[in-house]
């Protein structure tokens, strides 16, 4: 499904990704955790070429690319098989909720308007915003905007949806509505790669958790493997700091 081999990325002198291999199977939900600066967001953004990696290869579905030498055509092909949900929602301010969801279909995938509207409405209903089709982002709460963002990603029916800290900018009271939607689509078998700090959520929906630190994957495993029986010291230190209740052996 997605296979990334030996990806490297440096910002000037600062090496942020130091040779990472990741493999994600269809329908898998991968959660990436780790301290700030560990490269988790950079890894995600390299997948859809919002950052250009320095070296490495990726296979996405049936498309193969080399990160450094990818042509614009290849980049477009990759982007048209992925979708991203952003930390700051990034809804198109000059479009309504429905138009936001339809935009990628109509513009990038040449789907006829009527069909796109149909899909758009279904997706907005799915995330619980059936009554907000014609609302502009400026009229929606953060949680609602993020749900539109998720609907926008779902509508594209991508190989994988990339979530970049989807709840980090949200009011704590609005976090749960977004996590509920994410849990729902995870259970429907959508392939997801999620970068998050929401540990109990990670434990709840992940098939596999990757712990990144200093540009490498330190350890990975099922939620139980990691949270309860972490092997690496760095992993244990990180989890102890942010999930105190998981450091007890059960």
């Amino acid at each position: 499904m997605i296979k990334i081999t030996d990806i490297h990325k440096a910002f000037g002198k600062n090496e942020v990704l130091k040779g990472i291999d990741v493999e994600v199977a269809k329908g898998e939900v991968i959660v990436i955790i780790g301290p700030s600066g560990s490269g988790k967001t950079t890894l995600l953004r390299c997948i859809n070429f919002l950052e250009k990696a320095d070296s490495g290869k990726m296979t996405l579905g049936s498309t193969q690319v080399a990160f450094k030498h990818a042509t614009s055509k290849e980049i477009l092909a990759i982007r048209r098989q992925t979708a991203m949900v952003f930390q700051s929602y990034n809804l198109f301010n000059n479009k309504t909720a429905l138009e936001n969801v339809m935009e990628g279909l109509v513009t990038a995938r040449k789907v006829p308007l009527r069909q796109a509207a149909e899909i758009g409405k279904n997706m907005l209903d799915k995330v619980g915003l059936a009554d907000k089709h014609n609302a502009y982002p400026s009229r929606l709460s953060g949680g609602q905007q993020q749900r539109v963002g998720i609907a926008r990603a779902l509508a594209l029916n991508p190989e994988v949806i990339l979530f970049d800290e989807p709840t980090s900018a949200l009011d704590p009271t609005l976090v749960s509505e977004v996590l509920a939607v994410m849990k729902k689509i995870a259970q429907e078998g959508i392939t997801m790669i999620v970068v998050t700090h929401e540990m109990s959520f990670a434990y709840d929906i992940a098939n596999r958790i990757l712990f990144m630190d200093g540009g490498v994957i330190v350890e990975q495993g099922t939620p139980k493997d990691l949270f309860v029986n972490a092997k690496e010291e760095r992993t244990k230190q990180f989890l102890k700091r942010i999930v105190p209740e998981w450091s007890y052996n059960i």
């Binding site: 048209r80 198109f92 990038a108």
Partner: protein, 235 residues
């Protein structure tokens, strides 16, 4: 005796008399403003995009150009274009002596506008949050699609108030165009003043016309801004 002295200084009925004569030349003033604005917007967009994409070479040239246009009096620019352009072109064998003076004026005012508008347009485009572009790319849109469908509408809304102000400024700047000899509203005012020895009333009449047009322009701009805001961000 008082009445006579006052009448000698300022006679409002002469202003009223001058107005219809001045209005016959209004279309010249308006034509100059509209044509220069169109040229200014087109050239302004090109310069703004050249600067945003940092095309090597063009960036330096356009900075120089903008500095010059914004830093020198427009009357100087006018004469440089009027006397300089034919001289330069004749040295390469192109004769433009037959060109209408209006062309020189539209060029001068248009290029001047472009310098101011380039900065406004560039700032407006750059002020659209980068997240908008990233979301568009992530959804699979090309650069061009992103610009036309997402960035440009939002940038237009940002830049409209400033552009409106610059058009009003252009209208005022056009008041010295008559120095090249065209007969617009100001040119007619000078002619009336020369004929009747009542220059003050003629220019006051011209001022009234300029004032009314400015007010109308501001009204139109405000309406356009309101409509676009409704349409573009539904507020």
């Amino acid at each position: 005796m008082w009445g006579e002295a006052m009448e000698g200084f300022f006679n409002i009925s002469l202003v009223v008399e001058a107005l219809p004569q001045l209005l016959t030349r209004l279309h010249i003033t308006l034509f100059l403003v509209v044509a220069a604005t169109i040229l200014g917007i087109v050239a302004g967009i090109i310069i703004a995009l050249l600067r945003i994409y940092r095309i090597p070479g063009f960036n330096q040239i356009s900075l120089l150009y903008i500095s010059f246009m914004r830093g020198t009096p427009i009357i100087v620019q006018m004469f440089i274009v009027y006397y300089g352009l034919p001289a330069i072109l004749s040295s390469v064998g192109i004769n433009i002596n037959r060109w209408d003076k209006m062309i020189f004026l539209i060029l001068t005012y248009g290029l001047n506008m472009a310098a101011f508008l380039a900065e406004i347009i560039r700032a407006a485009i750059v002020s659209v949050p980068i997240g908008q572009t990233e979301a568009a790319y992530a959804v699979g849109m090309t650069r061009l699609q992103t610009f036309w469908r997402i960035i440009a509408p939002q940038a237009v809304l940002m830049g409209l108030p400033s552009i409106g102000i610059n058009i009003v400024g252009l209208l005022q700047d056009s008041s010295i165009a008559f120095l090249l000899g065209i007969v617009d509203v100001m040119g007619k005012a000078r002619a009336i003043g020369a004929n009747t020895y009542h220059s003050l009333e003629a220019y006051v009449g011209a001022a009234v016309i300029f004032l009314v047009i400015t007010l109308l322009l501001e009204k139109v701009c405000a309406t356009i801004e309101r409509r676009l805001t409704m349409k573009i961000i539904g507020d």
